[in-house]
């Protein structure tokens, strides 16, 4: 046999035939799909192909959605027992599982993330959030808010484009379990799985108006935030928009939770398990193209192992398979939009200008679509823009430290505080460091692990409130003493 040294993986594409995308979509209001007036295209960021036309909701649409949600809350949902509400949530979770391949393909087409991730992470976790919260629906008296906690009423929810269906699940599942009805707006570039979710609600025979989905851009979001008929706002997105929302709701009675940006420190101590830390670094920053608010975007490396870790990291990055998101062997997919790509390029250029050393994995990028090779910057200090600002892309800034205290000081020296990672085989050091770090989620010897039972949220400018677990549920409830 001829000795061939390279093991090329033949294309292994997931079938696109699993999904039917309509040429045009409306909104989902009061249990029905209603036509929109204005439309904008949604594209596949891996190919720039137009997938469908999405409606841009204006005041009339948002008013109708809020009205439907209020009616459903007053007549049906607030009167229903928790056990009955739980039944619907269980049903939604099961239907989502049954349609999981369809959801995964649609998510990958619309978002650009690899099918491996939508299939193995996004969709199973989204279903898990519904299962988890379904169990809470008839146990709200154990949520820590007294014996008769009450729902807020109508929740307005605005979600981002990085995990479209998963963020929907994070928002919708606890809201419904707690007895609220919702008006949800998916991100402008990624509406398709939310609209498929609307069909799941229909199949589950969820009472009309309990879930309403209006599509659109920031202007639609503003209509939701400022709507007088909404009792609670839940937003996931940029800190910049989060601040606008906080200002808008400040003079109102609305409750609000915000899940915003991050610039997480991933700290590697010299006594870490090096090979697994490399995996943790890769998973921390290159999972979902780095479009992760809790991404480990600042690698904080002990100087004594810095050289070894960086060399191993580069070798590992060279093995990241970049390309067609629909291929089952792809590790890194497309950047979600041209706007985002420009932002990543702009901040990376700032890294060059400010004197950091750029290294990108040698990979071939497709000609069409929005792509950015996995990249690290070494020689980064606290004073670099790329150490302070959220890039929200596959770009890692590498900083070094000499003592554990210096690592903590650097990790905390940021306006953000969403997540952090600690890598060490020494338990006492891990416990000490986790107590010093000011971040809402701290992973030790792992990164980017999510579970519906675990509260997620930030310190400082990374947000208000928590999502997931009992803490996340309580954001959709008020104790009687608040009445």
């Amino acid at each position: 046999m001829e000795e061939k040294l390279s093991f090329e993986y033949a294309p292994a594409p997931e079938s696109r035939a699993l999904v039917t995308i309509k040429p045009k979509y409306g909104h989902f209001i009061g249990g029905k799909f209603v036509a929109g007036s204005k439309h904008f295209p949604t594209i596949n960021p891996a190919t720039e192909e137009v997938l469908s036309q999405i409606s841009l909701a204006g005041k009339t649409d948002v008013d109708a959605a809020v009205k439907a949600a209020r009616k459903a809350y007053t007549i049906t949902w607030s009167k229903m027992s928790g056990k009955e509400r739980g039944k619907y949530l269980f049903r939604i979770a099961r239907i989502m599982q049954e349609h999981s391949r369809e959801f995964a393909v649609l998510e990958t087409l619309d978002n650009g993330k690899p099918i491996r991730e939508s299939r193995d992470v996004d969709i199973p976790l989204a279903a898990a959030h519904f299962f988890y919260h379904a169990g809470w629906a008839d146990k709200l008296e154990y949520a820590g808010l007294g014996t008769t906690p009450k729902a807020h009423g109508v929740a307005g929810q605005i979600i981002p484009w990085n995990f479209p269906l998963l963020m929907l699940a994070w928002k919708v599942a606890p809201a419904l379990a707690a007895g609220n009805t919702v008006v949800l707006k998916p991100a402008e570039t990624t509406s398709l799985t939310a609209l498929l979710f609307a069909e799941v609600c229909q199949q589950a025979e969820l009472p009309a108006g309990v879930v309403n989905i209006v599509t659109g851009d920031g202007s639609t979001g503003a209509l939701i935030v400022n709507h007088p008929g909404i009792d609670k706002i839940a937003f996931t997105g940029s800190t910049e928009v989060g601040k606008i929302i906080a200002r808008a709701v400040a003079p109102t009675n609305k409750s609000v939770t915000l899940e915003l940006g991050g610039k997480a420190a991933n700290i590697i101590f010299e006594d870490a398990a090096i090979d697994e830390s490399i995996e943790g670094i890769v998973n921390g920053i290159f999972f979902n193209q780095g479009h992760v608010c809790c991404a480990g975007s600042r690698l904080i490396l002990q100087e004594s192992v810095a050289e070894e870790v960086i060399e191993k990291l580069k070798n590992r990055m060279a093995k990241i398979r970049v390309g067609d998101p629909m291929d089952k062997n792809t590790d890194l997919g497309a950047i979600n939009s041209n706007d985002q790509l420009l932002k990543i390029r702009e901040l990376s250029a700032a890294g060059d200008t400010e004197g950091a050393q750029r290294w990108s994995a040698p990979c071939e990028l497709p000609g069409k679509g929005f792509w950015f090779a996995p990249t690290i910057f070494t020689g980064v200090t606290q004073a670099h823009r790329i150490a302070r600002e959220e890039i929200f892309g596959p770009v890692l800034s590498v900083l070094t430290f000499r003592t554990p205290q210096e690592a903590i000081d650097k990790a905390n020296n940021t306006p953000f505080g969403l997540s952090a990672g600690i890598w060490s085989e020494k338990g006492s050091k891990v416990l000490w460091a986790s107590q010093q770090l000011r971040a809402g989620v701290i992973w030790t010897n792992t990164f980017n692990k999510f579970d519906p039972t675990s509260p997620f949220g930030g310190y400082k400018e990374s947000g208000w409130g928590r999502e997931g677990g009992r803490h996340g549920l309580s954001a959709y409830l008020k104790g009687v003493s608040h009445e």
Binding site: F7, A12, A273, I274, D275, E279, K328
Partner: protein, 315 residues
């Protein structure tokens, strides 16, 4: 012996060397191995992987009931795995007990299988519980009988009680017996070492002591060649290469029964140690039932349907 300049043969230097190794996080290693097992290998790459895997098989019979007839049949199969298709390559080697080596070598030579090696399990396989004198004689016998590869077992008792220098010295002595006549594979029996930290430590110990290959298991203890254990060993040979510029081979054995398992192993090699290891001189798979499944899958790719098992020979 120089031991690549890593140790000087004293217990102190060995302890220092092993103490310098980074630990292995079990959860992380398992997660990486599980991720790599999701790779989807189709069409042309699957065909290439099957043929490559066939050349890497150490076709094995290690039974108390082995007879000259059984071993000869194994040798015939090793040379021409599919008698109806001459494009199927021969396997890497046959792997037998010490007393069957001469029968295997003679028969292979007789049927045109000079290119197929004979591996002998040695050093009181599978337990390793015998005196050093017996272990040395065991190895000498096998080499004199024509073994080109020696699969020795380490003394797990010594390893687990922290007597690393004993394990090291044994490998060094068997290495000396092998000289340039036989390749040395060192079997850890990872199912008895249990932790990945131990697997990593054993790997570096064996490589410094002169192993040409490091091998997971005897096939007599479960779990054997799990994806995670093979991952840890592949990381070890990769790192050892970075330190010494010498490539050590890896041989998973035990529990790899079908094509899917074998392809997962090749993916692990490709994405961990690297494509340089994807050849029989650096990667072997110890197996018996695997070969027939590889042949069946090969026929399926060529013919488009699954043939009856009667189209592949049982031995």
């Amino acid at each position: 012996m120089s031991f690549y300049g890593l140790v000087d043969g004293t217990e102190a230097s060995l302890k220092k060397y092993l103490g310098s190794l980074s630990g292995v996080d079990q959860v992380g290693a398992d997660a990486r191995a599980a991720m790599l097992s999701t790779r989807s290998i189709k069409t042309t790459s699957k065909r290439w992987a099957i043929d490559t895997a066939i050349t890497m098989v150490d076709l094995t019979t290690l039974e108390g009931a082995d007879t000259p007839g059984k071993v000869k049949a194994l040798c015939t199969k090793a040379v021409r795995p599919d008698p109806t298709d001459p494009s199927v390559p021969s396997v890497g080697a046959v792997c037998v007990y010490n007393d069957m080596v001469e029968i295997a070598r003679t028969h292979l030579d007789l049927i045109g299988g000079q290119h197929v090696g004979v591996a002998a399990v040695s050093t009181a396989f599978p337990s390793g519980r015998a005196s050093m004198a017996v272990k040395i004689q065991d190895t000498k016998d096998a080499i004199e009988a024509g073994a080109s590869e020696i699969d020795m077992v380490i003394d797990r008792g010594a390893f687990l009680s922290g007597q690393y220098i004993e394990v090291f010295d044994e490998i060094v002595k068997i290495r000396e017996v092998c000289g340039s006549k036989a390749h040395l594979k060192v079997i850890f029996e990872t199912g008895e070492l249990v932790t990945y930290d131990n697997v990593r430590k054993a790997s570096f110990l064996a490589m410094a002591a002169g192993a040409d290959f490091i091998k997971t298991s005897t096939g007599k203890v479960a779990p054997a060649a799990t994806a995670s254990v093979v991952l840890v060993m592949l990381e070890a040979v990769r790192d050892f290469y970075a330190m010494t510029q010498v490539r050590i081979g890896v041989k998973p054995a035990g529990g790899i029964r079908n094509t899917k398992d074998a392809i997962k192993q090749l993916v692990l090699v490709n994405e961990t140690a690297g494509p340089e290891w994807l050849k029989p001189s650096l990667f072997r798979i110890g197996a018996s039932a695997l070969l027939n499944d590889l042949l069946m899958q090969r026929m399926k790719i060529d013919d488009g349907y699954y043939a009856s098992p009667q189209y592949v020979t049982i031995d």
